[in-house]
Amino acid sequence: MSPAYIVGAFEHPTRKADTKSIAQLHAEVAFGALQDAGLSVDDIDGYLCAGDAPGMGGLSMAEYMNLRNLRYIDSTDTGGSSYVIHVGHAADMIAQGKCDVCLITLAGRPRAEGMQTGTAVRSAGSGVPDEPFELPMGRTIATMHAMVAQRHMYQYGTTSEQLAWVKVAASHHAQHNENAMLRKVVTVEDVVNSPMIADPLHRLDCCVISDGGGALIVAREEVARKLKRPLVKVRGYGEAVKHQMAGAVDLTYSASVKSGKTAFSMAGCKPSDIKYASIYDSFTISVIVQLEDLGFCEKGQGGKFVSDGNLISGVGKLPFNTDGGGLCNNHPSNRGGMTKVIEAVRQARGEAHPAVQVPNHDLVLANGKGGSLCTRHGCGTVILEAV
């Protein structure tokens, strides 16, 4: 099977895009990733995007960017994890010989549009079968994730202070990222004393709302070896979906149990081999659940695992989200999966900020969770190897 490589990665530097359209942002991140790779728009023969792209699937963006040579198109949408899943789909198509160079883009401007992402009750649209049973209950992104945290506390004794350590670690990393929205280092006390948004989640347990986006270029080995960038091989990937299972609700785990198992099996490695992990951090609790599900610690032990700086680069055993993650750096278009892969690529290349770069970066992981951890979501796991 022909392996695929991530040859281009670009994160838009903006965090508030008052003067740009969403289509324009998609094109700007595509250009940035092509420049990073040393490729041109004519090289692209596969395009992947999700629901943030304006228009039907990828059609309008393909036209706007004038992608002329497409042989593969994919608009799989699992919310914020879509782009992690796209990396696997691109690698599969490259392995099958269906295309050579895939572009993946994400962009949005919820901050410029004044969106109250976490605390407003929004309809999922007419005809959505779960909607009449949930919208009247006034569920919000914050309260739904808070129910996961509440159950974790009830069942495993997890504490607010343990949740806070996830944010503390992210803030230690964000201080080195000049583009990060929140660069101030915070303490456990700062987090637990911040205003309660949705019990038991405080304001500092929640990610930022930001504009911008990012793009990735996935290419076949023959292309990757001709370029001048460090080789980052896509070694394993998996995806899975979890929902309320007809009333058999269990908030203690995510679809990452399955996506991670598939990815580790394909990569032929285990969690203890991973030197750096990008973990989807819509909320602090999201990180704890995914770390458990991926096998970095036992189920229920995530709170203890993240404590005392264990996620801080240079301090703990598993450096995570060294760009500051969604909690401090960027959560463009309310979808954090793209930036998870981008920082994992920086780490695998040895190009993260020197203050947070892990010394041995042979194997890194990016995990995405999109939709609601509470009701229904999709997870994607990607394991990358520095060749």
């Binding site: 079968p129 009449p132 209950m137 006034g138 309260t143 739904m144 945290a149 509440q150 159950r151 007809a246």
Partner: protein, 129 residues
């Protein structure tokens, strides 16, 4: 002490599939689905079995008793409590905990059914038993 805000729930969108549920709600009853192929219960009720995808289903009335599986209070000027309640029959449903001190709500707490009016069909919510 934080009393729950007396909020008007959004009007449920009724369609041919969920009509029995909201018709039952108008009669003050909470119904759940039962797959007649497997005898297993499910929520939300629908005309398709989530276990076999056949239409061999029935609707059965819940006693309206349950236990809080998890919850969260949306803070702010109009606080309210989102929750999952596990019915005594088995399925867990998304709901609200109302008519109570929101600071005293706990996972594992016993609750009972109470309907809250909306501009359309009443909405099944729960209050401490």
């Amino acid at each position: 002490m934080t009393p729950d805000f007396d909020r008007m729930p959004a009007t449920p969108n009724e369609d041919p599939d969920n009509k029995p549920f909201f018709d039952a709600a108008r009669a003050g009853k909470l119904i759940i689905g039962k797959c007649l192929d497997t005898d297993k219960l499910f929520f939300p009720p629908r005309h398709v079995s989530p276990y076999t995808l056949s239409n061999n289903v029935a609707f059965v009335e819940s006693k309206g008793e349950g236990e809080i599986y998890s919850f969260s209070v949306q803070r702010g000027k109009e606080p309210y409590c989102l929750a999952y309640v596990t019915l005594s029959e088995g399925p867990t449903m998304m709901t609200n905990i109302i008519n109570t001190d929101l600071d005293a709500v706990r996972a594992g707490q016993k609750v009972k059914l109470v309907f809250k009016p909306s501009e359309g069909a009443p909405v099944p919510m729960f209050t401490p038993a």
